[in-house]
Symmetry: D2
Subunit: 341 residues, 4 copies
């Protein structure tokens, strides 16, 4: 068989592990040929590819990034390019395409699958917001990086007797905030799923100081927003520099909490460091298993599907189902976190 692979969307620790696993399983066990498209869907549309043999994937298991590159392609551009893509697939004699990517990528995968291309997707998101899999690779690494930073910040917050508002990734969901906050013992966790009331947050943090503690750590997902009308809030996008996170939520919360608590409050924005670099062992194993099963699905002709983790098993779910809705933090998980903060 001849299989095409591509990676699309933002960086995510474990992409290379998936690529390597696909090549090992396909080439060694099945005698397949594997090619990699350069820079995601763009490579497919422009027929920009290279052969992936064992040498090509040697030593990449623990490397962050993706040896295939990645760009975000506009959905409309892809929609217009379906015929071209199909043409290239025919031309190259491909029996299957395995796109590795997040929500946008999987939607595109579904589009191409619906148009008749043989596709098996591999889900990727550091945000943990793809509903039909227990978890995907990248999330564990992101949580680990954020937790390690929080561990360090605690001693500084304590030394300086400050409130630190630590902004972690998560535009639409609060999974990284929830898990890193629980792991590091944050004193409040603010997620997009539950618009916050600054009065309540002030009360929670204030209670700590009243109890004689000298510092507090608040973890806030970048997409968290105040309840309507409860706090002046400057949405992103107004930065004189044109940068989106100008008036990030951590920054604005720091101002509000400092004013209300009369304690020094400082924002810390962890940023891109959460999505790069060496994956954790957990993510490497999961990514490797996903690659393995994607090749299996190809050989069984199970197209239009995506690999997924359910418990300890890797299964397949229809792409249609995979992209139906975001997986948000449910109330009971938030409640768990709240009680042990």
């Amino acid at each position: 068989m001849r299989i095409g692979v591509l990676t699309s969307g933002g960086d995510c620790p474990g992409l290379n592990a998936v690529i390597r696993s696909i090549v090992h399983r396909a080439v060694v066990d099945h005698g397949d040929e594997v090619i990699g498209f350069q820079d995601g869907w763009k490579g497919l549309l422009e027929c920009d590819y290279r052969k992936l043999d064992l040498d090509a994937v040697s030593g990449i298991l623990a490397l962050g990034g993706t040896i295939l590159g990645s760009t975000r392609v506009q959905p409309t551009r892809l929609r217009e390019g379906v015929e071209r893509a199909k043409g290239h697939v025919a031309e190259l004699g491909l029996d299957a395409i395995i796109p590795i990517g997040g929500e946008g990528t999987l939607k595109a995968a579904r589009l191409l699958s619906d148009s008749g291309l043989p596709i098996v997707g591999v889900p990727k998101t550091i945000d943990n917001d793809i509903a039909s899999t227990d978890v995907t690779f990248g999330f564990d690494t992101a949580v680990g990086v954020a937790t390690e930073a929080l561990d360090r910040l605690k001693t500084t917050a304590e030394s300086h007797q400050r409130v630190l508002i630590v902004e972690v990734m998560g535009r639409h969901t609060g999974w990284i905030a929830l898990h890193s906050g629980m792991a590091a013992g944050a004193h409040a966790i603010v997620v997009p799923e539950r618009p916050f009331h600054v009065d309540e947050l002030t009360k929670v943090v204030g209670a700590r100081f009243e109890a004689g503690k000298k510092f507090a750590i608040v973890v806030v997902a970048e997409g968290a927003r105040p309840q309507d009308g409860t706090m002046a809030f400057e949405a992103g996008g107004t930065d004189v520099y044109g940068h989106e996170r100008f008036a990030g939520v951590a920054r604005q919360l720091a101002v509000e909490l400092e004013r209300r608590l009369e304690k020094e409050a400082r924002p810390v924005i962890l940023g891109h460091v959460q999505r790069g670099g060496t994956p954790t062992a957990y993510d490497r194993v999961l990514a490797t298993r996903f690659g393995w099963y994607a090749v299996e699905a190809v050989h069984r002709g199970d197209f239009g599907q995506m690999t997924a983790l359910r418990g300890t098993d890797i299964t397949l779910v229809p792409l249609a189902e995979a992209v139906e809705h975001l997986k948000t933090v449910p109330a009971e998980r938030y409640a768990e976190a709240e009680c042990v903060l």
Copy 2:
């Protein structure tokens, strides 16, 4: 309510996180009182305990070890002590006991539960060998430590053009070997579930050298053994020093592989470093959730149960079921690993 907690068995990263979580949930949310028995079952038998309030668990979330201490108590001693334990529970007015421990501890828990004590267990094992939960805390940290060591050893093996045989924990099951070996890209993984044939192992490693590679990493679980009659093998226990791992499997395999391959082969025994120190974020979250749900079970009167992870949910399983058999590496998981080695 009044709840007693104890930790028993070998060290495992996350024990303190469970203790802290129990205290937070019980004291803050339910207004319970929590006491901690010193040194595991011994503390219960000798009525050696102390009160655990919020201050007592402050700052312990990320610490390895257990603030309650831990000793291994002989099952017979415990069996003889059942009446004494019941007496202390009555005397202290305890509504529940939450023992945190591995297979032995859970068996003891079942014994006490069967005798009428109100018990909710929390499973603990770095080996991942408890069947009725997807995973327990401690395993992720152990795999992470082993993987990091393997990452480092790779460059040395390559520089020295050697075969390194790296022995990881796992007396009865090969989970740590499987996951760390997959995560680090080991070239062979040897587990107790599949007695190895040294000829085959030699062939696998030899093939690498024939293909022009200059080194190999073999991960072997400490409990792995050769197929009967295939290799002279010295079982543990004969050490002139009285130490059990004298003639460990890695050491003996190194000798055999060196002789057969005519390449330098060296054993590396990772040892205790796998079971101590700061837990990973994954283990801290899981441990925290287990503690939370153990308290919930107590308040619902769900005794004779153990907390368990199923997918992303924490559930309860009967202690009877929990200790029925070891969870071993199934053939299909081993096959996955094999193909991407």
Copy 3:
């Protein structure tokens, strides 16, 4: 003897290691008594202290922060308090005071020393800007944290084909930028000691893209500034939120480079994470040695001095000399870095 210890200024990994070392050396070897003042000079002025015995410093060697707390005291307040401080020293029967702190603390130490108090200082700065010692504890940890972040950011910058401008600590000196930039193989390093010309920086980064590379990492110290008149630059302090780093140099450089290079450029501000948490082994050893020698100096009556590292030896230098000028990055060190970027 009776010795008073205090920590003052910002958080710095290794403070607890110094405290522990002082107590061990003084109590165990010399039979001294040690007390710790709470929250820096404030504790001395307000006679707020506690006894430090072996138990008090047990387990703190690897902890970030300081068990004694730390606040910044205004120099004027301290100047007015000299007599009060002397009164407390007499009252408590102290034979020596060991303040551990940065430039401000050492200046205060000199003031008190000149007024007749028996003082041995221990230098502390993550910025490495104290001239009379080769290096102090805290710097190695800060460089390590920044380097690890840079390692991670590289794969993301490459995946996203971006320029990342990473702002590290260093208001007046570029040591952290220089060392972390060299260690991580940054493509440009911008330090306060050499006001940058944005045209030149654009040229350096642009040359990389012309050579076919797809990303670049620029490390910039927070105190770096453009050459006069070369770039509109908004100094700190104008933030509507009242926060000082509003228009930080990384943010402004990102805008300029994006506009000039027509490549996506993003700022990443590492912030407080550089100054907290567990110290590296290097910093623990240095901190421990400083504590040891400070006690030695006390016993030899060598007051008005500060411990210092010279090569592999710990020596003493007069406090007067220690605070004379900042240690800036010399031209030849910057040149070394430049050539291997």
Copy 4:
């Protein structure tokens, strides 16, 4: 100019950083040509080399191992090969050779230098035993790895109420033991420079238990030996497996201490993990600076020298002086460590 580079001896984190730095400095700044000999002196003797341009060293800064490979060549073989080496140098038109290696390599370098070849050495040793430089790259990483392991082992020792005897590298000198032991707060440190008396060691460890502590960590350098006649001691080399560390000092000490203290004592042998993998930031900076200055020395014609760190400066010392004697742990450094254990 045309410069040949080679790496020789055991693995050491930072080798690739030196190679990269040499290439950057020589090629970019001086317009030189650089070639790398394969597998150390062997490559020079057999004229096995390849060109090293910027692409060849791209991305290797943080990698452990050496892209040039390394083998140990017998001194006699090298001595006999001097004329051949000189022939190859002439043939290849080399203006200088930069060997990077430890004591053996530097002795060989001196031999070749004395025979008239233009040589600038770069010292390499994780053991820190080269006398004429304050420190070399590799040592900081080894100490860091050992310290991290000791941090983890502490909680396990405490949980299990054991004495752990942790064997670190150091056949002839105790630098790694000293620094990792100080950094991790070990309770005893045993080095080759001071043959130990098992009675005294027992007393030191026993005193801890008498004081109510429940565990102890002893760090011992692999080359440490008992004082003559004080303890039955089995030297290396008698292993039925032919392995040298069969009856390692940690193993034998564990037996003795267990017997005398009546406490469980277990050996842990850290092994090769100390000499592989990613270098610390400290080692990367030092390695980079060494490479830079080696090229400078070549251009100034300063042959027969070795780069060295003195304080914060890189200098040159004659090869003759460099290999004169081992740098051992001096009594005063050992005394420092002792008091804060």
